[in-house]
Amino acid sequence: MRTILFLLRKEFLQISRNKSILPIIFVMPIFQLIILPFAANYEMKNISLSIVDMDHSLTSQRFINKITSSKYFLLKEAPNNYNAALKSLENDEADLIIEIPRGFETDLIKENEIKMMVTANAINGQTSGLSVSYANSIIKDFNNEIRVQWIQNPRLNPRPMINITSSNWFNPLMNYKYFMVPGVMAILVTLVGFILSSLNIVREKEAGTIEQLNVTPIKRYQFILAKLIPFWILGLFVLSIGLLISFLLYGIVPEGNILIVYAFAAIYLIALLGLGLIASSNSDTQQQAMFIAYFFMSTAILLGGLFASIDNMPRWAQYITYINPVSYFIDVLRMVILKGSSLYDLRNHFMVITAFALVLNAVAIIGYRKTT
């Protein structure tokens, strides 16, 4: 026990003197939390619109007014022909083209039916899909407006109408940041916990001090605990900074009990650190360790449900997420902060992460050999 205290003292002294680690712990969280939620903004607004009005009628003008007054769209230009509009799409000056065909108004009245062309730059599948979706709903809205107006005799409605009401729970303001920030915090804690711990053992290996320690009577678990504990503390510290910043900057106040987050984070970090130690013990140079860490981390984050919902993934990818601790952490953060989920609600997540922590650390300790 005493040995661990001596080792811990050494670790903390080394960390405090390590000029490269400190910026990671302080600067990076702030940097990421400030920039990322603003950068990762999928809230659709200011979609650049190019309208080609071949009809120049009252109705077409009405439509143009309606769509340009929407907060989603920004009228970039109103060229004379479709080809000019296409050019703008090519140059990325416009995102969406709406073409109102000649005879729009007259044909609508005469034939009862008319077609409008919507062309989108679909390179970014997600945003273009949403843009088109919004355009469509405005068009439908417009359709209903003129329909109600033009039908002179509002008879008793013979058509069955299903009224659909919708409500958005847990994030009524539809603030995209509420979605991103918990995820970013998860990334932060993961970065600190995993990358820093991965580099740690390798650094000793490279310096040769690990050999010296292997010759002393230190027990494996003492060595590993001494490596785990400082970064465990740092990880929780970074989490706290993250929570503070998200409160100060974004006004995010957890709906649920914040202690649940800490409890999960504590176990999560233990699991992560164990993984970092395994990576570290199996690397010979810092460069290798960095790479392995970076590789696993970026894959885990991509599959973690931060940028795309896990539900959308194909089965095989979903299976991978079952063994991806990051996705559980992101989930827990979101659920507690936004929905106020309770410990009982999250019992599955807790069980899984505890299993991870136990298994990974057992592997780390057993795999660490003082004698080769």
Binding site: F31, I35, I162, S166, S167, Q288, S309, D345, L346
Partner: protein, 368 residues
């Protein structure tokens, strides 16, 4: 010239003897492209939803069947009480709840009006909006089918054309991003680490004292990573085209030339970093925090730049990756020629030249 080859060979040996790093350097892009191509998609599929049918009649059953039959939704559970809705959301099991009013069929038949309530988990706002849209349109479809052959008067239909990426595949915007990131990783970070390593271990001084010109030493360090980057570009493109079905609309030669330009730019950046730091660890940290993160966040790799606040858009202009991603999209996906990318090419050339100049200056200062 022969000396140069000797040095280049030496650098290659360094790299080849580190199979783990090599594996990751060559394998990571492949993994990322596959993930982006197949796993990461915003297309809604099998979203878990719950149904609370307070009416349990023929009509509601028809609607429920229609929903169950759609690929968008997967009915995860049927609820019985309102209280269960909360729990279903809070345990993260469902993203949408559809609630039918009691006596649905009766009301609909006799008063021509009945209601359905949709509750979405708006933790992910876009997802929620999309789910509600899809559910609504299925229900409305059903409603229209009830009306039989009678059509609504004055209907505006829309014909939608999705250009460049008709199937809305996620990879179209992500493959350029993955290329930008990986190339930067290899060319900038690895090169800078390789150069700094020699500084750290003191072997740099030995090289400087030898009759080899310093710039030859630098080139010898850059060449292997250049080759590695090139291999990566090729493998990513091969994957994208043959496995993910992404087309190369424009000139392949132009595309490769632009990749080479970007690789040069990244190498110059790596060079610059190496003249500014003295330990490997510092080189790694600078690359990670100063390059990787900004690229992932601001270059258009994942998030559309147009949605960002003005300041971040300005910041993104500093990243070579941003310009490169634009170039790749224009050439590869839109099929544009040089006339469509001359601006961005100029920017990259300028950045490369600037970085090389700055590095030379710093290098000379250090030597003094």
């Amino acid at each position: 010239m022969k000396q140069l080859l000797v040095f280049i060979k030496k650098e290659f040996f360094h790299i080849l003897r580190d199979p783990r790093s090599m594996l990751i350097l060559l394998g990571m892009p492949v993994v990322q492209v596959i993930l982006f191509g197949f796993a990461i998609t915003n297309e809604i599929k099998n979203a878990n939803i719950a149904i609370l049918d307070n009416s349990k009649d023929e009509q509601t059953q028809k609607i429920i069947n229609k929903i169950a039959g759609s690929t968008y939704f997967n009915i995860e559970r049927s609820l019985v009480t309102n209280e269960q809705i909360d729990e279903a959301f809070k345990t993260g099991k469902i993203k949408l709840a559809i609630i039918f009013q009691p006596n649905f069929q009766n009301e609909l038949t006799h008063t021509n009006s009945a209601s359905v309530q949709l509750i979405a988990d708006a933790s992910d706002p876009n997802n929620a909006t999309t789910l509600i849209n899809y559910a609504s349109s299925i229900i409305l479809d059903y409603q229209n089918s009830l009306m039989g052959p009678n059509k609504l008067p004055y209907t505006i239909n829309t014909e939608v054309k999705m250009l460049y990426n008709p199937e809305l595949k996620g990879i179209y915007s992500s493959v350029p991003g993955v290329m930008a990131l990986i190339l930067m990783l290899i060319s900038a970070m690895m090169t800078s680490i390789a150069i700094v390593k020699e500084k750290e271990t003191g072997t740099m001084e030995i090289l400087l004292v030898s009759p080899i010109k310093p710039w030859l030493i630098v080139i010898s360090k850059a060449v292997p990573y250049f080759i590695l980057s090139f291999i990566n570009v090729t493998s990513i493109l091969l994957l994208a085209v043959y496995v993910l079905g992404m087309p190369i609309e424009g000139s392949i030669i132009l595309l490769f030339v632009m990749c080479v330009l970007y690789i040069f730019c990244s190498l110059a950046l790596g060079l610059f970093i190496s003249t500014s730091v003295s330990t490997q660890q510092a080189a790694m940290m600078v690359s990670l925090i100063g390059l990787m993160l900004p690229i992932m966040m601001l270059s258009g790799y994942m998030f559309p730049i147009a949605n960002m606040p003005w300041i971040l858009q300005m910041l993104s202009n500093v990243l070579p990756a941003k310009w490169y991603i634009i170039i790749v999209k224009q050439v590869m996906i839109k099929g544009l020629g040089f006339s469509g990318i001359w601006k961005e090419t100029l920017v990259l050339l300028g950045m490369t030249a600037l970085l090389i100049l700055l590095s030379i200056k710093r290098f000379k200062i250090r030597l003094k």
